[in-house]
Amino acid sequence: MSASLNPESLLPLIQEAVPEPAFRAFSEQLERCRPAWTLAQFLNTFSAAARTLGRYPLRTEHTSVSAGTGDVPLAGLTSDCAARMWLLTALAASVPSELATVLEATYDEGDGLERIAVIRSLALLPFPERFVELARDAGRSNEVSLFGALACNNPYPARFYSELAWNQLHMKAVFLDLPLAQLAGARERDNAELSRMALQYIEQQESAGRRFPPELFLPMAAFPPPGAVAKLLGYLTHAVPELRLGAARALERIRQPRTATFLEERLAVEPDTQVRSTLERSIAALTPPP
């Protein structure tokens, strides 16, 4: 599996993914726009991409596309979204001075799928820091697919958000039940305030008898607030294996020598293989080599 592609390589991937007549129709639209785009032509092609090309998954061994400012994962990318991302990066390369205006138009005027493509493109564009307000707008949406395009498999927030904005995004991802493992760059953005927010959220859910994602133990463990370690040790014996695994991973991150005895006691009785191997790693890390 190879890592990163250039944005230009999206076009051949789209061609491979869609039926031949669909790609021909798309190419004809592009041809009509030469030598230079008008805004209306660009928006027509951008808007029509889903019905021109269809929504076929890209078939590729590559895991991400990269444009210098960061890798954008290709996970789950379909032909329509890839085509819109390609259109934006092509525009950025050919008429950089127009990019900001056109990007705002595609987002402001965009429907759900168009906005998703804009949001997934942000980290591929030059000077991406200027688009933070646009990203924040998407982050205020309760349309899960749009919010998910920003929060999941997208390096943009972790790279360009302030600490406050990052923490709010992270907690909203928790509320919307998104897979926290897909928050790109999350561990590099962990901070004491988020650790506190995570702990308080977990306590609030416990009081209400409601569930919380075990992955939330990880940001909590980054700067463990008082009570966090004891809580994790408690969850090591919980009946639900996912909660034990989440606690074990968080304790592995904390690496406190005083937890060693608890980890060993649990390892002696732990039936789950994933939890066991996590515990073994933690114990090994805490035990100095003879």
Binding site: L43, S47, A50, A75, G76, G112, I116, V144, S145, A149
Partner: protein, 292 residues
């Protein structure tokens, strides 16, 4: 049995309505752009309203397994308002290019003023350039005369009649519409417009072809289940299940399929929605969207 409501203003309705509609068999709807009961005073209000039709409302419908399509247009009441009319006409091409926008509408006459006629004509030309069908609203007052004038304007526009759906018909206007190639829509209302029983009589008299039935439910006293209730009335009057599906699903779907942006084959299938698959197992977690 699959049902389709080709004219309903869901922006004004609750999630309970969506739930009841889905469990009554409605798999798809068209929400025509219309007025909001109170005049809008600036074009920005239209931008946000149109955006919600292709955005938030579509999303809401999907949560209940209902495919949401819409039409875009400047309604005749507000065509009379110089604060907004010209600006909205300029705005429309931007929304007519969007996926899920399946017609220009609802447009037509209200008071039959010159301003209404001008805006009506301009929007028929927009439909031609966007290659979209047209949904036309018949006036409530002076209805028969309004229908005649509507048909004249359609004829002059050069829009092919089979790409025009004329809505809110009654016993007086239907013969006029049936004499053309246009499709005939009927809004079943609790008190006004048309009832299920009268609708069944019209179907007996005029047959099933190019006949379309909707609830036109909005913020007023109306019933989002009028399409399923018409299905019951048709069955009680002896129409077969196939007849019912012909009028209450196939006909509206065939009409709006002319947009190239709606496919009957995709409706009512188990909801394998690529957009949600695309963001991965991820985005749907915890939502447990209803699947038909």
């Amino acid at each position: 049995m699959k049902l389709f409501d080709p004219h309903i203003h869901m922006t004004s309705r609750t999630t309970d309505d969506y739930e009841a509609m889905a469990s009554a068999g409605i798999v798809g709807i068209v929400e025509p752009a219309f007025w909001l009961g109170q005049p809008r005073t600036q074009v920005g209000s239209f931008i946000d309203y149109f955006s919600s039709l292709i955005g938030w409302e579509r999303f809401r419908a999907k949560q209940f397994g209902i495919a949401h399509f819409c039409t875009m247009g400047l309604n005749p009441k507000e065509a009379n308002d110089p604060r907004v009319a010209e600006a909205v006409l300029e705005l429309l091409p931007r929304f007519l290019r969007k996926d899920g926008v399946v017609a220009v509408g609802e447009i037509g006459f209200d008071d039959m003023t010159p301003a209404e006629e001008k805006v009506f004509q301009a929007q028929l030309q927009l439909a031609k350039s966007a290659d979209l069908p047209v949904l036309i609203h018949l006036p409530h007052r002076d209805k028969k005369r309004g229908t005649e004038r509507t048909l004249d304007v359609v004829r002059e526009s050069g829009v092919p009649e089979e790409r025009v759906l004329i809505d809110h018909n009654n016993e007086e206007t239907l013969p006029l519409v049936k004499a053309t190639g246009c499709w005939a829509g009927h809004s079943i209302y609790p008190d006004t417009k048309m009832t299920e029983a009268r609708m069944v009589d019209l179907l007996k008299r005029y047959g099933l072809e190019r006949m379309v039935v909707n609830s036109a439910a909005d913020w007023g006293k109306s019933d989002p289940l009028k399409v399923p209730k018409t299905a019951e009335a048709m069955r009680a009057a002896g129409f077969s299940a196939a007849d019912v599906e012909h009028v209450l699903f196939d006909n509206p779907v065939r009409f709006f399929e002319q947009s190239g942006r709606l496919s009957g084959a995709d409706l009512g299938q188990p909801q394998i929605d690529q957009s949600e698959l695309f963001e991965g197992n991820s985005v749907l977690r915890g939502q447990t969207p209803r699947r038909s």
